[in-house]
Symmetry: C2
Subunit: 418 residues, 2 copies
Amino acid sequence: MSPLDPKRTVQDLKDLRALTGNDDGAWRVAWTDTWLEARRFMREKTDALGLETHMDAAGNVWSTLKGESDVELLIGGHIDSVPGGGWLDGCLNVLAGLEVIRRIKEQYGGRPPVTVRLVDWADEEGARFGRSLLGSSAAGNTLVPDEERHRKDADGVLLVDALKRCGVDLDRMNEAHAELANAGAYLELHIEQGPVLLDMDLPLGVVLGTYGVERHAFKFVGQAAHSGSTPMNRRRDAFLAAGKMSQEIYDLTDALGGVSTIGSCVTRPGIVTSVVAECDITLDQRHLDRQALTRMYQWAVDASQRFAEEGGVEASTEVIWRIDPMPFHPELIDMADEAVKGATGGLSHRLPSGPLHDAAEVARAGIPTVMLFTQSLHGISHNKIEDTKEEHIEMSVVALDALAEKTMAWLLAGGASR
Amino acid sequence: MSPLDPKRTVQDLKDLRALTGNDDGAWRVAWTDTWLEARRFMREKTDALGLETHMDAAGNVWSTLKGESDVELLIGGHIDSVPGGGWLDGCLNVLAGLEVIRRIKEQYGGRPPVTVRLVDWADEEGARFGRSLLGSSAAGNTLVPDEERHRKDADGVLLVDALKRCGVDLDRMNEAHAELANAGAYLELHIEQGPVLLDMDLPLGVVLGTYGVERHAFKFVGQAAHSGSTPMNRRRDAFLAAGKMSQEIYDLTDALGGVSTIGSCVTRPGIVTSVVAECDITLDQRHLDRQALTRMYQWAVDASQRFAEEGGVEASTEVIWRIDPMPFHPELIDMADEAVKGATGGLSHRLPSGPLHDAAEVARAGIPTVMLFTQSLHGISHNKIEDTKEEHIEMSVVALDALAEKTMAWLLAGGASR
């Protein structure tokens, strides 16, 4: 009999939901009392398992099972949620990882061949202060405290004060980087949050990496003109040019892959009796491949210029945000694929992650990384209706456990430095 | 020597501009002191010419030169302007009409064959209270006092109180209808306010009628979805459907004529990281032909439904406002064409009017009507930069005068009842 008990993970998740959620969803928003309550729930479990647990300078909580080697296998997730979020987003890994370490401890008589650590990243969601991946970016040593110092929540509470209340000093957060000193590999199990596995009727998938993002504001400037007295061929219609972009972003993803989203359109003067003088749209483009991402953006810029010229308007763009794609480790991806197939009876699928995850920050720090996705019902997250079939949750625990075992063997054989 | 002196009209217009305008444009907003000042300026001139002048129940000012016949030739304009408006919008006709009556009086020894009346319509612009064509609609007996009673200006002043201050009782305004009892024809000279004549390098044009308007709100409802995790083929993107309308309204006017304008686009949730769940656009469509106008609207509805189906979203429409086209009188149009050609040395062009005019209300009341347009520099109005070349103003006075003469002959021959 395997000592791994995936049903226990399902029960743990339900217990956490009962403790920190209600009919409106999960409320484990980072730096709030409910989040601290969730962390106490976890602390009881890691203490009961006899792990060494401490919080680092960034507020991340580390629970360590010391092994024969100092080389560390990291398993990470985040127990924080968005307000009214789903019951599995983030915490699935924290509790699945706990079960995996429980199994490893039992199987290896308390001392596995490599050191195994569970990390609960602080404030992955950025839901309260608008800064995602806060704790993991500090561990990755990429956090710039001065860029975060001004942040306030909706009630005017400063991020720095909310952190201080939880024992975290913004200016010292990057000291958490020391926690990664001996890391040999990082594994993260997460719900998909999208509909890909659902549409393919697959329980689990292997994540190839996180999309890079090119996020830009496109502005079209034409001329206001009376809707009655201005012939069509005399118009410099900013909405005509902007509207043409709506189909173009589907054409360019057909050709180049990835995703492109026009999320906002604002028209000025925006009255029924005037041709649109100015139209602003936002374009969010994501791709796993840096070159393809650059081509996507350039395609959009070229199209916007072409549409502008066709309609006698001016087009310009301004960067809102951009981040490079973060591909995961090819050998870990192969091992994850084997682990998924083992858990599902041969079914697997490799897919990129559109949303960012803490795993991107760990990978950026040079740690070989891979993620597993489990199917999301409705293909949705950040919503109280987010859900996953219990049998899929159980399969995901089995797959994470198998991947952890394979990764320990890989680390013993030299890991990325082989 | 003709007694007509078009240069005098240009000077009168300049005098009025000096009296009621400044560097920011014309300020003859109806029911204000500056408007009353402009009307006093006119009253001095009509009194000096020996015309019988009175204000009707709707605030319209009538100046009459009694003729041999009770049948009346009406020449009308409006001395009111929008705030910071152009110096010629409306008042060109009032002063050109004065010059024409001056010529007629002189030529016919004070008693022309038909009665000639100059009317200065009250509140054509609706700039202060948002109700255009107020005085002319009362004369047309289509004003519904209860629909206007609630109106207030930006300072909270009630329309009814502003009217009362100028001697007008809202509930009695439609009594002005009596003024049209003997009307045989109505002529109105106006600046074009658009770029058609400018583009054709023509000084004058003949107006075929005023466009009908179909003004509707189109709503597209899809589903919000994460911009990173939602594959393109899984999206129900309200902006994709709405954006496709931008080109479609140009295609449908290519096929059907008229003008179509998407003036406003609003997206919800309207954030950079979400597919658009709801998108509202306004569509303003205008055409001189009722059937064509209906087809334009139906084309847009059909297209919206097609785009909605293509993208898995729902489309619906709601009426904002609609008005029927008002074609002018065909015989008067032909006479106007001759008059224009005579004034310009053979150049004329027939065009519809996108903006509404008092002439539409008079025509709706069954009075044979036609308008002349004179070229607008910049193709623009309702703006301090609105302007027309002095030589074109002079030509327009000549054309209006010739048209008045032809129309008198037409009325003597039986007019519309021949």
